[in-house]
Every structure is written in C-alpha cells, then in structure tokens.
C-alpha cells in the first residue's frame, strides 16, 4: 500500500466512526475497506487458545494464561501467551520466505530461503523459557502503562531451528560487531508502512549462544501464525520481545541496536533504583537483559477447599540465563520455609519443575507461597521488587489461596 492510499483509507475509517454512522457514507467506502467491527474474529478459535486464557487486548492481540493452565512440563500452544506489538502479517508464503542478514558489521549481505536454512545448517531443538518483560505489571503501584499482565505471560515450549551463530558465521561478522537487531513482517497499528511496530535485539554474545535459534518449529509443528510463522528468533531467558516473530532480516550492528522499542522506557529500567513514581531521564535507563529468578505454582489452582490436611503442589521455576538452585514454599506468610523437590532443566534456559507435599496444622485459610533461588543465591522477593516506569521484572513470589475445611 502506498502512503497516499493508506492516508485516505484511514481517513474514511475516522470519519465514519467520528459520525457514528457508517451507513450514511457506506456507498462512498472503497471496496477494500472493512469496517472495524467486522475485523474482530473470535481470538480463541483463531489462535486455537484454551477458553480459560485471558484476553487483555484485541488490537493488537494480547492474551495471557492463568497459573494453573501452565501445568504442562512443555507448554502447548493453547496455553501460550500472545504478546503482539503490531498487526499480524497477512498472506505469508513460507515457500517464498527469505531471511536476510545485513548491517554495518556484516562481511557480505546474504539471504537464505527457509529451505536453504534447513538444508545448509544443523537443526537443534531446545525447550526455552520465554517470559514477557512486563509479566506481573498489573501489581505495580503507582500503576505502569501497558498491557496489565498478571502472572501468565510466560511459556516454555520446544523450539526447533538452526543456530543463529551458524548463520552469522556463514555470512561473517566484522570485528566491530556488537549487537544484532531483528526486522519483521508485522505492521504498525497506525497503518504507516514506514514504521516498524517492534525491532529489538541482543548483544552478539547472546546471539552466539548454542540455544539462540532461528526457529521454524514449535513443539514439533510449524510455528503458529500468532507466534511468528514461518520463522522466529528465539532468545530464551531474556525478555520475550527479543525473540522476534515473522523474522525477515537480522542486522549485525556496530552499535547497540536502535530499532523500535529499544529506547525510551521500552524494555528498559532505571540503571539505579528509584522511588515509586519517579520520573526517570532516558539517559538513566538501561536495557533489560537476563530475566530474574521466578516461579509459579501450577497445581492446584488457587481457591482449593481441602478435606484433609495434606496437599501436593507442583510448578515451574526459572532464572533467565541462570539455573534455579533451590525451591521453597511457605504456608505461614513467609515466616518459615520448607524445601521443594527441584528437577534439573532438560537443557540450559528451560524452566525446572518442582513439587512438594504440604502439611497444614489445622483448619483455616492458608496462602501457599513459592520462592525460587538462583545459582548466585538471589531469591524472589515477597513483595514487589523495585518500581520502574513501565512495570517490568516483577518476580515477587507467587501465591495461591487454600482453605482446609474439615479433617
């Protein structure tokens, strides 16, 4: 669509909604104009999501899980959160898809078809934890602007693809390369074809890790459309926004990538901690890298009425680039903690499973709190961690409510 057509199309949309009477000008609408109301299909059917998932936003699409929906060891599509910044690209043809590697620090700009990627490089599969940087945002006070994620913007699926490192080495990186930035096929909400909804990236060191993939499969099938079909960059353990969907181009940069949502308060937090509600200068904000240690109790669902005094709990724990070393629970609001059984991750950057058998002393209301500790000895806080303008990195301990009603 050229710029002029885009402008007049938007204008018509505005006018009709300004007047609240689409019918009056109905005969003037261009044939390809679809009234907004007709563009809202059922997202649960469209994206094959479980009906218990929570829709946060329908333009752009944003949907999250509830803790108990994430009980599977490997997250299936139906329970995987959706975080889109722009509009999902239309009319994707995998056979014609190309990935281009360019940028200031590329030896030679080169393009690969999906078939070339698959045949030229070795394929790897890893289970990778992808958590939205803003997961838990809804709890911040003063409130932070954006989708109000509670606990369910996290997933750990199996991703299959080729290593980004192998492809970068094939094109050659100049010695001044420090960062990679992705460019994708999704389109900006305003309809402006010259704007990218999001174009983020990671330092070369993260790009070169074994587990950083150019993925074409999720859980053994082609990646679902809303999760990035046909090609997605996957950077486990980092804010999921670094895992660019609908990947068309990767630029090897000689500066920190400066694409959309790399600056300002996007996916950045104050370099030094600030008091809640502070105004922070752009120059005092730092890019989020590894996500912090966190865990969720996925069984039972919060609100269980128990007829006996024992309860089996289980869930997952993860720690960004690190491993979780210890997992504990408390039934007395953090006064005392008991150990959970904690499994090793199936591979680096995959979440780890825990379970415990909880005993309650007598009838009453209890909260089961879960606390993970990473390999550097850092634990989840009980209350909200440091406030930041956009409400990122809330790793406060997960809590479920239970009542022992008789015994």
């Amino acid at each position: 669509m050229n710029r002029r057509k885009f402008a007049s199309k938007l204008t018509l949309a505005t006018i009709s909604s300004v007047l609240g009477t689409e019918i009056v000008f109905g005969n003037q609408m261009p044939k390809d104009y679809e009234p907004l109301g007709l563009l809202n299909p059922d997202p649960f059917k469209l994206f094959k999501k479980d009906s218990e998932m929570v829709l946060l936003n329908d333009k752009p699409w944003n949907m999250e899980a509830k803790a108990h929906l994430l009980n599977d060891k490997v997250t299936p599509n139906k329970f995987m959160f959706i975080r889109n910044n722009g509009k999902i690209p239309q009319n994707i043809t995998a056979a014609n898809w190309k990935l281009t590697i360019d940028g200031e620090s590329v030896q030679t700009t080169k393009s690969y078809s999906l078939q070339e990627l698959k045949s030229k490089f070795k394929t790897h599969t890893y289970q990778l934890t992808l958590e939205c940087g803003g997961n838990g945002r809804s709890e911040f006070n003063p409130p932070a602007k954006g989708n109000q994620w509670t606990i369910g913007a996290v997933s750990c699926a199996n991703w299959t693809g080729v290593r980004l490192r192998d492809v970068l080495q094939d094109v050659g990186i100049k010695s001044d390369g420090v960062y990679i930035g992705y460019h994708a096929a999704d389109t900006h909400l305003s309809g402006d074809p010259n704007k990218e909804p999001i174009s983020r990236g990671v330092p070369i060191t993260k790009a070169m890790q074994d587990e950083t993939l150019l993925a074409f499969e999720m859980n053994g099938n082609p990646i679902p459309l809303t999760h990035g079909f046909p090609l997605r960059l996957v950077c486990g353990g980092w804010p999921a926004s670094t895992s660019g969907k609908w990947l068309e181009r990767i630029s090897i940069r000689n500066i920190v990538h400066d694409g959309a949502k790399m600056g300002g308060s996007s996916y950045r937090v104050p370099c030094e901690t600030v008091s809640p509600g502070s105004k922070v200068e752009e120059s005092d904000m730092c890019i989020i890298e590894s996500m912090p240690v966190k865990s969720i109790i996925t069984y039972p669902k919060s609100g269980a009425l128990l007829k006996n005094k024992s309860l089996k709990i289980n869930g997952h724990a993860w720690a960004g680039e690190l491993q979780v070393q210890k997992m504990e629970y408390s039934i007395d609001f953090g006064s005392t903690w008991k150990s959970c059984t904690l499994e090793k991750p199936v591979n680096r950057l995959a979440w780890q499973h825990f379970n415990a058998k909880v005993s309650f002393p007598k009838k009453g209301y209890y909260e089961v709190w879960a606390r993970a500790t990473d390999e550097n000895g850092k634990s989840q806080p009980m209350i909200l961690p440091g406030w930041n303008p956009k409400g990122y990195l809330n790793n406060a301990c997960h809590r479920i409510a239970v009542k022992v009603v008789e015994s």
Binding site: N57, K59, N141, K145, S190, G303
Partner: protein, 137 residues
C-alpha cells in the same frame, strides 16, 4: 414541519459530504484529524458508546474517535493513570506512534481518562482474590 426538518437534515448531510469530500482529498491524515478536532465536539450515540467498552462520561465520544483508530479500547481501559500519566502517554504516542494533534479535544480526553481510569492505591501486594472456591478431591 417534519418536512422542513427533513429538508434541513438532508441539506446538512449533503453539505457535510461535500466538505468531507474535500477534506478526504488531502493526502496527509494528520491535518484531517486536526481539522476535525478543531471544528467541534461530535457526540456519538449511546449504542456506539456502550459497544466501545468505555465508561459513559463527558469526553467518551472524543476518546473513542481519537483512541480506537489504531488500538482497541482494552489497551486504555486496563490502565490506571493520573492526569500527568495520561498526558505523557498521549505525548509518547504523538512522538513515536503517529498520533495526531488532539486540538481542543485533548483537555476533554485527558480529563475523562484521569477521572474514569485513575490509579487506586494498592500498596506493595494486594490480598489474593479467589474467583471461585472449589472442592479439591
């Protein structure tokens, strides 16, 4: 009498159509929005407001007209900000997301949002809200 009203209405629609035709011919969207925002407050009908998902209060029509062209009402209504916060959000959208000048509607829009979607004091952790207690076998 009714005939006269009809005629006035009819002429008004024609006049508006002609005006809009010329407005539409302008290639730059921003100017069009700006002009509309400067002309007058246009109020929407009850049904449109109800369907929008916004609280019905003074300014809701301007919010619907200007905010839901690009994103859904849900992106607004799930947020809680004070006046400064909403103003900053509008400024950010104008600087980075192609939002147009809101003209004289801005004050109405900001007041509406600050009143109806204001922050509540929550402290560092709220009570756990249980949607439904259930018996666990």
């Amino acid at each position: 009498m009714k005939k006269k009203q009809f005629l006035i209405g009819f002429l008004a629609v024609i006049a508006l159509t002609v005006t809009l035709y010329f407005v539409l011919k302008k290639p730059v969207t921003e100017e069009v929005y700006q002009e509309l925002n400067d002309v007058t407050f246009i109020e929407l009908d009850e049904e449109t407001i109800l369907k929008s998902g916004f609280i019905n209060d003074i300014g809701v029509s301007q919010v619907i007209q200007n905010c839901t062209q690009c994103h859904s009402s849900k992106l607004v209504t799930q947020n809680r900000l004070n006046k400064t916060g909403w103003e900053a959000s509008i400024k950010w959208m104008q600087e980075t997301q192609n939002l147009w000048d809101l003209g004289k509607n801005e004050e109405r829009i900001v007041n509406y949002l600050a009143k109806n979607y204001a922050p509540e004091t929550e402290g560092r952790r709220t009570n756990i809200e249980v949607a439904e207690w259930y018996e666990l076998e």
